[in-house]
Amino acid sequence: MKPTNTRDPEYYHKVVDCQYACPAHTPVPEYIRLIAAEKYTEAYMVNWESNVFPGVLGRTCDRPCEPACRRVRVEEEPVAICRLKRVAADQKGDVKQLMPQGPFPPNGKRIALIGGGPASLTVARDLAPLGYEIHLFDEQIAGGGMMRSQIPSFRLPETVLNEEVGFILDMGIHTQFLTYVSSLREVLSQNYDAVFVGTGAPKGKDLTNLPGRSEGAASIHIGIEWLASVAFEHTKSISKKVIVLGGGNTAMDCCRTARRLGGEEVKVVVRSPFSEMKASPWEKEDAMHEDIQIFDNHVPLSFEVENGKLIGMKFQKVKAVYDEKGKRQLIPTEEPDVFIEADEVLVAIGQQNSFPWIERDLGLEFDQWEMPVVDRTTFQSTLPKVFFGGDAAFGPENVITAVAQGHQAAVSIHLFCQGKDLMDRPSPYTNLVSQKMGIHEWSYDSQIAADHRYAVPQAKKSVTLKDRKKEVELGFDVPTAYKETQRCLNCDVQTVFSADRCIECDACMDVCPTSCINFTENAEEDQLRLNLLVPAENTSQDLLVSENLKTGRVMVKDEDVCLHCGLCAERCPTSAWDMQKYFYSVTKAYQVPAPFPSLQK
């Protein structure tokens, strides 16, 4: 193999598994260390700079970072990255003074944002400080999009959402709520310099063709419409027996909300096997904890209506069968159909995009699935002035993806408004600093804690089921949060190797607790992976390969299970290894100044 090019900003970035997996690339270990140091305000700001909604995300994020966390590979459970973020938000001091302070000198450009969800709000935050005049339109009563209309208050208190939406709107955004945009042509006629579409995926899927659908209509609701109507307090109760169709997070929110509005026998019925349900494992656990039964492998056959009143649903029992390619098929079993009693049904089987308000003759192309044609890097549509982001761009995802795309769309809009090439994107800000403080002293806590993941305490069921707004999770208290922070392995503190200093004494190889380091003959990657002390089978993790050493061998380090304990560097007599902290930040249209040196340019 060729010597690894560690100057490629992505090389060390990839070693920070959580940050790499985070769509917005939040510098996770950095904020975890700040929490450990009780610097909650700074920890909040590291998050805010990158993911805009730390308080919201610390409670509701889909957390793609956690399955990626290195801890999973060396222990079992990931660091509670998400819930530590909430600690930063819960404990923070005055953060507002650290945010960009308006009024900002106008730059003469006007931008329209359609929809007020996390995608649009991110664009607003990134562009407002640059002097753009921003007009945000949303049909809801307040900003936040689905974070307000869909995510139930028992998971996300309104106060938390309001505060973080407020931080952005207070930057001088012109908002027009309760305003449904019914024509893009009309918006374009207002001569905005650019238009951002962040209207989400607002249409819930239905089972229109199922027998009994129209007869039972009064008792059958589309999940996301029903959740919105609960959130905006149009719906205040539900019958005792409820069926929720679907196995995703929306279904989980529906069933749990139903439990709080009077539902006593709430049953989730899903086509797929339990283990393949789309809902996150923790959402399923929480639902079951609230006495919700989950029936898997049941395919809906009909809504049963008697005397004009819905009495339940019929289901066919199936089992999952997989072909050689692993493709799943649901095959009916021989068992008789199942009738489940219900007074009301919530259909939570997915969401769709829908753009009835975009005229199709504007030069804005749509593909065969009626989705706008959008560039995956620039988020520009085929109408150069119009940009998309969030669920509106590529279909339903989650808040953190909407934020990440919002940042990129903002970069594009800023480049576009300056007449620059949108493909010439700013490179990430990176910084690599030695952590050496003395011969064997590091400025980070290199000890490895063996603690298992700490559980977040929850409020009593007897309390939470009575009040739909009572938050279920209580968040970590400070002492527990500290212990959880110590589980983080500081993956951003990189093992940096200088071949010219190595005397090949083997000390690093011998001491490495996880057998990462090897001195061996060079070979092609496939072979080299097999030749290591412990074969490097996880090909998603890179090998760090040195220049040739004096004996003609190379140093090969498998990044897979490195603990970042720094023992290699402590045992190296020549400082050929050094522990260096790698800071990586996605460059935003407007770089938020940070309160501490590592974030300052």
């Binding site: 064997h440 000890q447 005397i503 004494c505 083997d506 996880t514 057998s515 299970v561 023992l567 020549t574």
Partner: protein, 350 residues
């Protein structure tokens, strides 16, 4: 500074025949200087014992005084250990071995510990052919007392302070052969590929197995002009052979040219296969080994590999014809068989 090793290990760490991973053979975190050759030797011992699937509780590590003699703390943490007095490791090892012959005995010593203060004990344990592995971690200096020249420092070798050593070196390997050691090898801490099979062969050898391992002292003897530095050793090393250790009942995988390779069978049925790199030497002929060592010295080469082996000579228990049962397991009735038995013995002397 780290004082503790992290508890985690590679989740795919291989297991040996008795279900242990390398971890079970490690000791606590070394406090020797970073980069010390002794640590590499410790790591090689860990690996050799792991690969041989030796039960850690069947090993006793005995050492004298010196950085080298401290290393038993850093390997085989689940084994027995005795850190004895300067130069007195052989007598403790002899006592322990006499009491219980069923253990694997690792004597760990330094060039100071063996070639100066402990020379008397060293020569006698050799001539008794005590069944043990005797490793000298040879750095040509007294590391622990800050790097004074030892008796194995080569004449003309320059110390870190610039002092040129005026004395002849004691060649421990030649001496061991001369005194009748039944297994003599020489190696380099920086060459685990050679050191590990040598250690395995030494452990399986029934009798006294001596390993003189050049082990650079990074702090006091790794300077230009020193003949025990990493650079000097790497430049002057001459391997006598490539050695494979083939455990009992395992298939021999590597094939070498006829005539160039020699096989030596050990007591337990395992085999040492030597692919000779130097032809004017035969590991079973003392005279040829001594002259090979002399020749190498003339050329300022350091001969490594298995130098000499004799599997015929009896070890100390054989010579003394001790009981089959280890002495420490003999019960009172066997040790004090009673008046009748004593009378019989006394009659025998009349």
């Amino acid at each position: 500074m780290s004082y503790l090793k992290p508890l985690f290990s590679h989740p795919k760490l291989p297991k040996n025949k008795i279900g242990y991973t390398l971890k079970e053979y490690e000791g606590s975190l070394s406090t020797l200087c970073a980069g010390c050759g002794h640590d590499s030797i410790s790591a090689a011992i860990v690996r050799a014992c792991f690969e041989l699937s030796i039960e850690p509780h069947r090993v006793a590590k005995i050492s004298g005084i010196g950085c080298s003699s401290k290393t038993p703390t850093y390997f085989l943490g689940n084994s027995h250990g005795f850190n004895s007095v300067h130069g007195r490791m052989p007598s403790v090892a002899t006592g322990a071995n006499m009491a219980n012959k069923e253990m694997v005995y690792f004597g760990v010593s330094g060039d100071g510990d063996s070639a100066s203060i402990g020379m008397g004990q060293f020569v006698h344990v050799i001539r008794r052919n005590l069944n043990m592995v005797y490793v000298v971690m040879n750095n040509g200096c007294y590391g622990l007392t800050k790097g004074q020249d030892s008796a194995t420092a080569d004449q003309g070798s320059i110390s870190k302070s610039g002092h040129v050593n005026p004395f002849q070196a004691i060649d421990l390997a030649s001496l061991a052969i001369e005194l009748g050691a039944s297994f003599v090898a020489q190696s380099f801490s920086g060459d685990k590929q050679q050191l590990i099979p040598l250690l395995k062969a030494a452990i399986q050898h029934q009798g006294f197995a001596f390993l003189n391992v050049i082990s650079p002292c990074v702090t006091f003897n790794n300077n230009p002009g020193s003949t025990k530095s990493y650079d000097y050793v790497r430049e002057h090393i001459e391997a006598t052979s490539v050695l494979d250790f083939v455990p009992h009942q395992e298939e021999i995988k590597t094939q070498y040219d006829e005539g160039k390779s020699t096989r030596v069978e050990l007591h337990d049925g395992s085999e040492i296969q030597l692919n000779k790199l130097s032809m004017d030497w035969n590991p079973e002929d003392r005279v040829s080994v001594v002259s090979a060592l002399q020749n190498a010295r003339e050329k300022q080469e350091i001969l490594t590999g298995l130098l000499y082996i004799n599997t015929e000579w009896k070890d100390l228990h054989g010579t003394l014809n001790t009981t089959k049962t280890p002495l420490n397991r003999l019960k009172e009735e066997e040790l004090c068989p009673g008046t009748e038995a004593l009378n019989q013995i006394n009659i025998g002397f009349r």
